[in-house]
C-alpha cells in the first residue's frame, strides 16, 4: 500500500514530463497504432460503404490469403522483390566496401575530399530526380551510355535499356549503386579510421606489401562491421523499395519484372479497389518483415556487435 502511494507521489512530481510526452504518445497512437486495426480487412470481404465500420463487414477468415497464394501475380511480385533485393544487397555491399578501401588508399587529400563529397551527393536527391537522370543517361536518343558503347564499337545500334525486361533488374541495381554507394561507404570509412595504426606497422615489418595490408589489416579490421551490416540488411530483404520500380518500370512491357509487393498492394488497393486482398498482401509482407528484422537483430547480437533493437 505504502509502495503504491510512493509511486503515485513520484508520478505526480513528474507530471510535467508526462504533460510533455502524452500528446506525442497520442499522435503516435493515432498514426501508427490505430491503422493496425485496419489489418482486420485482410480477414474480411471489405466493401467500403457509407456509415459502415470495420465490424459491419463480412468476415471470410483466411480466404483472402488463399486467393493471394493462388494468384500468380503475387508470386511474381514476391520473386521480383527478392530478386532485386538480393542483387542490390550483394552489389551494393561490394561496391560500397571496395569504394571505402580504395578511397582509404588515396594519399592526395584534395582528390579524396572531392570524391567523397561528390559521391554522397546523389543520396540526398529524390528518387524522382535520380530516375529522371538515369532515364536521360540510358536514353536511346543521344544518351551518353549508348553513345559511349556505340563509339567504342561494342554495339551497332542503341540498346533500349528501359524497354526490355532483361535489363530492368540491372538498371535498378545500377541506379541503387549510383545513388547509395558513397553514402553506404561512410560506415566502412569510419570503421577503417578506427583500425589501430600499429597493425599496419607490424604488417610492414613482416614484409607485407600494399595489397596484403589492404587484405589482412584493413579488410579484416572492418569484417565485423561488414557482417553486422549484412545481417541487418537481410532483415529488410522484403523492402526492395518501390520508387525506382514504379517510376521506371510502370509500363506494360516491364511490369512482369518490375512489380514488387509494394506495387502489387498499390495496384490491387488503389486501382482495382480490392482492398481486402491488397491488405492481405500488406499484412503478409509486414509479418514476414518483422520476423526477419528481429531474427537478424538477434543474430547480430550473437556476434556481440551493436544492433538496432
Amino acid at each position: 500500500m505504502r509502495k503504491n502511494a510512493s509511486i503515485w507521489k513520484k508520478i505526480l512530481a513528474q507530471k510535467e514530463l508526462y504533460i510533455m510526452i502524452i500528446p506525442c504518445m497520442i499522435i503516435t497512437f493515432i498514426f501508427c497504432y490505430l491503422p493496425l486495426g485496419g489489418w482486420i480487412m485482410a480477414f474480411q470481404n471489405y466493401k467500403p460503404r457509407a456509415n459502415m465500420g470495420y465490424f459491419d463487414q463480412e468476415f471470410v477468415g483466411l480466404k483472402q490469403f488463399e486467393f493471394l497464394f493462388k494468384e500468380p501475380e503475387f508470386w511474381n511480385s514476391l520473386r521480383n522483390t527478392l530478386g532485386m533485393s538480393l542483387l542490390n544487397l550483394v552489389f551494393g555491399f561490394f561496391f560500397a566496401i571496395v569504394f571505402a578501401l580504395l578511397l582509404n588508399e588515396i594519399r592526395n587529400k584534395g582528390v579524396k575530399k572531392i570524391t567523397q563529397t561528390v559521391s554522397y551527393l546523389p543520396h540526398f536527391l529524390s528518387w524522382v530526380i535520380v530516375c529522371s537522370l538515369i532515364s536521360n543517361m540510358l536514353s536511346t536518343n543521344d544518351g551518353p551510355i549508348n553513345n559511349i558503347l556505340l563509339s567504342i564499337g561494342l554495339i551497332d545500334k542503341p540498346i533500349l535499356f528501359l524497354g526490355e525486361p532483361k535489363y530492368f533488374w540491372w538498371v535498378v541495381v545500377i541506379a541503387n549503386i549510383w545513388k547509395e554507394m558513397g553514402w553506404n561507404s561512410i560506415i566502412y570509412i569510419a570503421a577503417i579510421s578506427g583500425i589501430d595504426p600499429s597493425l599496419y606497422e607490424v604488417a610492414a615489418l613482416d614484409g607485407a606489401n600494399r595489397f596484403q595490408k589492404m587484405w589482412h589489416v584493413t579488410l579484416s579490421g572492418i569484417r565485423s562491421t561488414i557482417v553486422v551490416m549484412l545481417i541487418m540488411n537481410l532483415g529488410w530483404i522484403l523492402n526492395a523499395g518501390f520508387e525506382v520500380q514504379y517510376l521506371l518500370g510502370n509500363n506494360g512491357m516491364l511490369v512482369d519484372v518490375s512489380q514488387t509487393i509494394d506495387i502489387f498492394v498499390l495496384k490491387y488497393g488503389m486501382n482495382i479497389r480490392n482492398y481486402s486482398l491488397a491488405t492481405a498482401a500488406g499484412v503478409f509482407k509486414s509479418v514476414i518483415s518483422i520476423v526477419l528484422v528481429f531474427g537478424a537483430n538477434w543474430i547480430a547480437n550473437k556476434f556481440g556487435e551493436n544492433s538496432l533493437v
Binding site: 510533455m20 551527393l121 546523389p122 524522382v128 537522370l133 536521360n136 524497354g163 488497393g269 528484422v293 544492433s307
Partner: protein, 304 residues
C-alpha cells in the same frame, strides 16, 4: 637513423606506383560518373529547346536560353508546387525537430516512471507498420485527404531521429539539467532553455534530414492529394513529367522533331529545368553542411 631514412625513401618510391595512379584515375572516374548526369541536365535546361533536339549537348549549352525557366516561373501550377514544397519543408523541419527533441528529452530522464514502457511504445513503431491500405483509410477517416496537413502530421515523429537525439542528450553532463531543476525551472523550461541550445550539433543534423525528406517526398502528394492542384508539390510535378516521358518512350522523339514551332518548350527541356529547380536547394546547401549531413550516420549506427 640512416637505415630508417632509406626505408622511408624506399616506401615512398613504391607508394607512387602504378596502383596509386590507377586508383586516382578510378576515383576521378567515379567523381565524373556522379556529377556528369547532373551537369548535363543543367546544360540542357539552359539550352534552346528546339536546338536540344539535335542532340550532342554535353557540358555547356550550345544556344543559351532561359525560356524553360521562364515557363516554370509563369506557370501557375509550378509556382504553387514550389510554394507548397517550401512550406511543407519548413513546417516539417521545425515541428519535426522540436517534437523529436521533446520526446528524446523525456526519454533521457532516468527518473521517469514507466520510462521503459514508453521507450518500447515508440520503438515498436519503427518495426511495425500498418501498410498502405489501412493507412490510406485512416487518412480518409481523419479527413486528411486533399489536405495540406497530410504532409506534416503523419511524419511528425521519427523514432529513428528520436534515438539519435536521445543518445546525444544522454552524453550531456547531468549537472546541466540538475542545476536548472534545483533552481526551480520546470522540465519544459530546462528543455527549451538549456538542453536545446546544448544539443545544437545533433539538432542541426536532424533538421537537415527532416528537410531533405520533406523536400524530396512525392508519394504522399500522389496518394492523398493528387486530385487537388492547389496542394501539388515540385517532386510530384516532376514525377508527372517523368512518367509521361516514360510512357511516350520512343514516340516522344518523333513528336518532338515534328514540332517545329520556334521558342517552344519540349518535354525534355521542361523536365531538365524542373530537375534543376527541384534539386537546387539541396545542391546549394550541401557543400557547406556536408559534415552535419554525415555526422549523424555514425551517431545513429553506434547505439540503438
Amino acid at each position: 637513423m640512416v637505415k630508417d631514412l632509406a626505408g622511408h625513401k624506399k616506401r615512398r618510391g613504391l607508394n607512387i606506383g602504378v596502383f596509386d595512379v590507377v586508383n586516382t584515375i578510378i576515383m576521378i572516374i567515379i567523381a565524373i560518373v556522379m556529377i556528369y548526369p547532373f551537369w548535363n541536365t543543367i546544360a540542357v535546361s539552359f539550352n534552346d529547346a528546339q536546338d536540344s533536339l539535335r542532340g550532342g549537348i554535353t557540358l555547356s549549352p550550345r544556344v543559351f536560353s532561359t525560356y524553360s525557366y521562364q515557363q516554370i516561373l509563369t506557370s501557375r501550377l509550378m509556382v504553387t508546387a514550389t510554394v507548397n514544397s517550401v512550406l511543407r519543408t519548413v513546417l516539417a523541419t521545425v515541428l519535426g525537430v522540436f517534437v523529436s527533441a521533446l520526446i528524446a528529452y523525456v526519454l533521457s530522464r532516468k527518473e521517469l516512471v514507466g520510462r521503459k514502457f514508453i521507450t518500447v511504445y515508440f520503438l515498436v513503431t519503427m518495426y511495425v507498420s500498418a501498410g498502405l491500405i489501412p493507412t490510406y483509410f485512416l487518412m480518409k477517416d481523419l479527413k486528411l485527404l486533399n489536405n495540406f496537413w497530410v504532409y506534416i502530421l503523419p511524419n511528425l515523429i521519427s523514432v529513428y531521429n528520436v534515438i539519435v537525439i536521445k543518445s546525444f542528450m544522454q552524453a550531456l553532463p547531468e549537472s546541466l539539467s540538475e542545476a536548472a531543476i534545483v533552481d526551480g525551472a520546470g522540465h519544459f523550461r530546462t528543455f527549451v532553455q538549456i538542453i536545446i541550445p546544448c544539443s545544437k550539433p545533433v539538432l542541426a543534423t536532424i533538421a537537415l534530414w527532416c528537410a531533405v525528406g520533406a523536400w524530396n517526398a512525392w508519394f504522399d502528394t500522389f496518394l492523398y492529394n493528387s486530385s487537388k492542384d492547389e496542394l501539388t508539390t515540385l517532386q510530384y510535378e516532376m514525377m508527372k513529367l517523368l512518367s509521361s516521358a516514360m510512357n511516350q518512350g520512343k514516340q516522344q522523339s518523333l513528336s518532338d522533331s515534328s514540332n517545329t514551332m520556334a521558342n517552344t518548350v519540349t518535354p525534355t527541356s521542361m523536365r531538365a529545368a524542373v530537375t534543376v529547380v527541384a534539386s537546387v536547394p539541396i545542391l546549394v546547401v550541401y557543400p557547406f553542411l556536408q559534415k552535419y549531413f554525415v555526422k549523424g550516420v555514425t551517431l545513429g549506427a553506434v547505439k540503438g
